[in-house]
Amino acid sequence: MVNLELLTWLVPLFPVLAFAVIVLFTNRWKRLSHTVAIGFLLVSFVLGMIVVFSAFRIGGEELAQHPIVSAVDWMPTGESFLRFGVLVDPLTAVTLFFVLMTLVAIFVYSVGYMRGDPRYSRFFALISLFATGMLGLVVSDNLLMLFLFWEIMGFCSYALIGFWFEKPSAHRAGVKAFITTRVGDVLMLLGIAYLYALTGTLNFREILNDPAVLKRLVEMSSPIAGLSAAALVGLLLFGGTVGKSAQFPLHVWLPDAMEGPTPVSALIHAATMVSAGVYLVIRTFPLLSAGLEHGGGATPAMWAMGLIGAFTAFLAATMAVAQFDIKRVLAYSTISQLGYMIAALGVGAYVAAAFHLITHAFFKALLFLGSGSVIHAMEHGHHHAMEHAGHGHGEHEEPFDPNDMRNMGGLREKMPITFWTFTIGGLALAGFPLVTAGFWSKDEILAEAFHAAFEKGEPLGLFVYLLLALAALLTAFYTMRQITMTFLGEPRTEAARHAPESDWTMTVPLIFLSIFAVGAGFVGVPADFPILGPLLGGNPLHEFVGATLMTHLETLPLNWLPVLISVLFALGGLWLGYRAYEGKLRSPETPDPLSNLPLGLFTHMHRRWYFDELYDVLFVRPAKGIAFFIARIVDRGIIDGILHFTARTSLILAEATRVFDRVVPNGIPIAVAEGIKGFGRSFRTIQTGQVQNYLLLALVNALVLAVVYLVLFQ
């Protein structure tokens, strides 16, 4: 029996070693750097897979009761220690599985995509560090450690979005991402601090698996807004998710994050880091939903998740409809799909959220890598076309955007592997029935929401279901729009005409991921689904992941109505997208067929409902204005002014004192002295030194005294 605890510790360790090795030693040798990065990741991969498959073999129930745990003391706090430790329970196992898979695919893909970049080695160093962040987060057994890795990822994300920092827009996007997610992080940190203050521990099992602790938290009131302690902690932790998983109102950073290299978008901004936010709420779900069992209805945190998740899913889908940048469409779609998972938790669909998290990671990574392959090809095609047109490098080139789908078209013939794999990913995203992973996971969410809405009659469930169903329609629509604009029809530019297929380091990961984009759904087919259910082992995913929770989760009986609605919306959306765009675009200048929607709807959606402008007016400018006001007026003006006024007043007072001092305390003694002196001086005249005068004076005095005597005493 291998020591699984030790292996689990080692899984996040190897990538960080790769980071250190690349930074310290191999920075100069590009091939060596990527060999180190991929080699160390493969070691992690093998170790991680041993852990994962051991976990699968142990089985959900058993693993949930006796997870793989190991911990050491880290930081003494108050009476106890904050500890560092690893935990592998069913949820960790499935998450670790998809994280490792996508990591490997994307690392290999990066070799081809980043070829020729001047900071090639640094790229691999950073994604290795990122891999440590994600793997460490997944195996953490406590919130503090989770937060540590969470922030490592945040930092890597910042560094990788701004990787091409010569572009000011890239740097700005990096800062925007970092600061926006930081808002959520700070809330999360407050939640963590509060939780520790309440319970004296941050360990998942000691809090989440202890009904007594949860009950105490629910019954304790918190200092804010009459919420229970559990509700406040839950909302604060969810704040972290809102930032990290780019949910409304902190969703604005993710589309700009597309300034980073495409593997980064695939890795960080689709498959792993943004999923970490969802992972956090899935992981802490027992706390977020604490109080639910006692018949209290949805908890405040669940309300927040349901409302924000569903609204975000819908809002982002509308924005995705009207984008021209191939990666931005995917970015909004990511925001939208993350909203699905969060909304699912809002209606208590724990397993469905985890299921969609897994399938989404695969097909979204696939789509991003596919889009990267397209962008790469468009850039090559552009260079090729320019050279043939007689333009050399360095001459004036027209600005050309290889990301703009209006410049593409007809790429299916030039890039068949990219086309087919992208289409598979797209269909999975759209929820194409039966054969794609996205169908099964999204359908489970919709079925749960439907159940909550119409069978339990919850208003929150109704809200969630309606928005998610509409979003599903939009998703299918924009997916087909994207595929049509990119791959179908005729090439609209020279660049598209000369775009070559990418080489094997890029296409092999695409094929690899597309297998999962189809296959990953079959582990979660409802057990009572005709033919497929029994054939596929009766929903093994539900049994396995569901065991993580203390309470046994019942699977919903199959209800055909939501399934049919889903199928209808998916196929309908795809059909509409095809009809609207196929053959409609002739040249890059052709206006979008949707641009004559009423009320200028297309423009509003294209401009993302003006959130960036709104935030600029609401937060950025006021913050700068207030900062300026405080710095110039309050600090330099008032506070410093008072000080300087005091100083000046003191000087004036001092001057007045000096004058007073000269006149009064100094003047009076001087006047007295001068008076005495003058008096003396006037008497000096009689001091002549002549005896005759003295005798005369004596006589006069004698006479005066005689007169006085006679007058006074007679």
Binding site: D73, G78, F155, L190, A647
Partner: protein, 504 residues
């Protein structure tokens, strides 16, 4: 008698200063070597204190006296109850280490000083003795003696070796702090007379003082705020940015990194520890000031164009976090504060030393005109990033360790009558976000971005500079990764204060 570690730490710089003054003014190399050697001796000895302080014994001890180690007590003026009484506990030993670390690094980055080097280093050494003494003193009179000794040399050093309105800034800074300390001094005398023990000894007053609650409430504010001026408690902070901008690099490092801590430390020792009833009474007010301080200074730092002003205000914000930790009045919060003081010092010293390095080369501190300095000074850039990430609370670096403790402390301090406490934490936490914003702005515009042609041929930093910033950055990483190196120590220090408020 045991080896008088603390006295040797205190007086080694003073002796070195006297030696330096005896040398001819043109023996600059010898002068610097003597200064560096003195700083190094203090560093080694304070490391010794840090690692040999018996943490287990201190943890088991039940009162403050039991936690004081390396104690030295000699009667000075017995008729007045004055004694030379110094000692170390979990609160001041890390600060002694910090002082010697920054002093050593400061001597290294001042290696290029040629103008009146003899006087410069002599004053620096006197200053160091004042600071060491201020941290180690356990007698109120001795404390004030060293406190004033630390303030005076700063005036001369800014006025003679400074830049940018130096006479003005020197006067502003010194006067402001002096006024504060005199107000506090009156309070200390009040404590002396009211305690009626005929002694200035802090430990005795702490144990047998029997100061009544009304007295404590009246005198807390003058004492705490009077010393708080040196900790740049808002709105008494305005001396700080002007002073730091004008001061030579090493003075900014020591002043921001250590003297501010001394202000906070002395305010804690006298205000909170001797007047706990007053502390309890006034805390809502103090919390209010600290929270303003944190957000306000971060805002102001964000809107500065001058590289050095940014960190002048940043250090005000760091101290706001320190004082917020004080105001929790519980073990976790105070422990966090103990650590925050240490790392605030290291971070500020890194910031100011690097500002100095940039300014010495570019001769401008205007942020928009700088850029691309990573190519000239890669190691300082790395140190800057470490300090910057630490100051924005990035886990894995020291700042996070302190901040999480302080935030937990704030939540623990919540009680129904203090319903607003969590709100204060939430407002204060917005300062953390703004900190991230200004650090990133400065890091990008100064170190990354494009290197201007006029800066292309600037010389790199010297080996001395590299050693200095490396020494300062090491604790930030070590504490961040392995907090247990300092936490248990800080915890025993905090316990002496927290026990006054019912918390263990």
């Amino acid at each position: 008698m045991a080896f008088p570690f603390i006295s040797v730490i205190i007086f080694t710089p003073l002796v070195a200063g006297m030696l330096i003054l005896m040398l001819p003014a043109d023996r600059k190399a010898e002068i610097k070597v003597i200064a560096a050697a003195a700083a190094f001796i203090s560093l080694v000895l304070s490391l010794w204190l840090f690692f040999t302080y018996d943490r287990e014994a201190a943890r088991l001890a039940t009162d403050w006296a039991g936690r004081i180690q390396f104690e030295e007590k000699i009667a000075w003026v017995p008729s007045l109850g004055l004694s030379y009484h110094v000692g170390g506990d979990g609160f001041n030993i890390p600060l002694l280490l910090l002082t010697s670390l920054i002093l050593f690094a400061g001597v290294l980055v001042s290696w290029h000083i040629e103008h009146r080097a003899r006087e410069f280093f002599a004053f620096l050494m006197v200053l160091a003795t004042g600071i060491f003494g201020g941290f180690a003193a356990l007698d109120l009179f001795l404390l004030v003696f060293f406190y004033e000794m630390a303030i005076f040399p700063i005036y001369v050093m800014i006025a003679v070796w400074g830049s940018t309105r130096k006479e003005f800034a020197a006067m502003k800074l010194t006067l402001y702090i002096l006024v504060g300390s005199i107000i506090a001094l009156v309070g200390l005398f009040a404590i002396y007379f009211k305690a009626g023990l005929g002694t200035f000894d802090m430990v005795e007053i702490y144990q047998n003082g029997n100061l009544d609650a009304t007295f404590q409430r009246i005198w807390f504010l003058p004492v705490f705020v009077g010393f708080g001026v040196l900790a740049s408690l808002w709105p008494f902070h305005v001396w700080s940015p002007d002073g730091y901008v004008a001061a030579p690099t090493v003075v900014s490092m020591l002043h921001a990194g250590v003297l501010k801590n001394m202000g906070a430390y002395v305010a804690l020792r006298t205000g909170i520890q001797l007047l706990p009833e007053g502390a309890k009474f006034w805390m809502p007010f103090i919390v209010f000031l600290t929270v303003i301080s944190i957000v306000y200074s971060a805002m102001v730092a964000m809107s500065q164009r001058d590289f050095k002003y940014v960190f002048g205000f940043a250090s005000v914000g760091h101290m706001g976090i320190v004082l917020l930790g004080f105001s929790t009045l519980n073990l976790v919060g105070l422990t966090g504060t103990g650590v925050q003081m240490f790392i605030h010092g290291a971070m500020s010293a890194i910031f100011f030393s690097i500002v100095g390095m940039v300014y010495d080369r570019a001769h401008t501190r205007d942020i928009p005109s700088l850029g691309g300095f990573v190519r000239i000074m890669p190691i300082p850039t790395l140190a800057f990033l470490i300090a910057g990430l630490s100051s924005m609370g990035m886990p894995g670096l020291a700042g996070f360790v302190a901040e999480i403790q302080i935030f937990i402390g704030v939540w623990l301090a919540y009680a129904p009558q203090h319903w607003w406490f969590p709100w204060m934490a939430i407002i204060a936490s917005s300062g953390v976000i703004i900190t991230a914003a200004y650090i990133m702005r400065v890091a990008y515009s100064v170190f990354f971005g494009e290197l201007r042609p006029e800066f292309a041929d600037l010389p790199g930093v010297t080996l001395m500079d590299k050693i200095a910033v490396t020494l300062l950055a090491i604790p930030l990483i070590v504490i961040g990764v392995y907090p247990s190196i300092i936490m248990p120590l800080a915890q025993t220090g905090a316990a002496s204060i927290a026990s006054l408020f019912g918390g263990a």
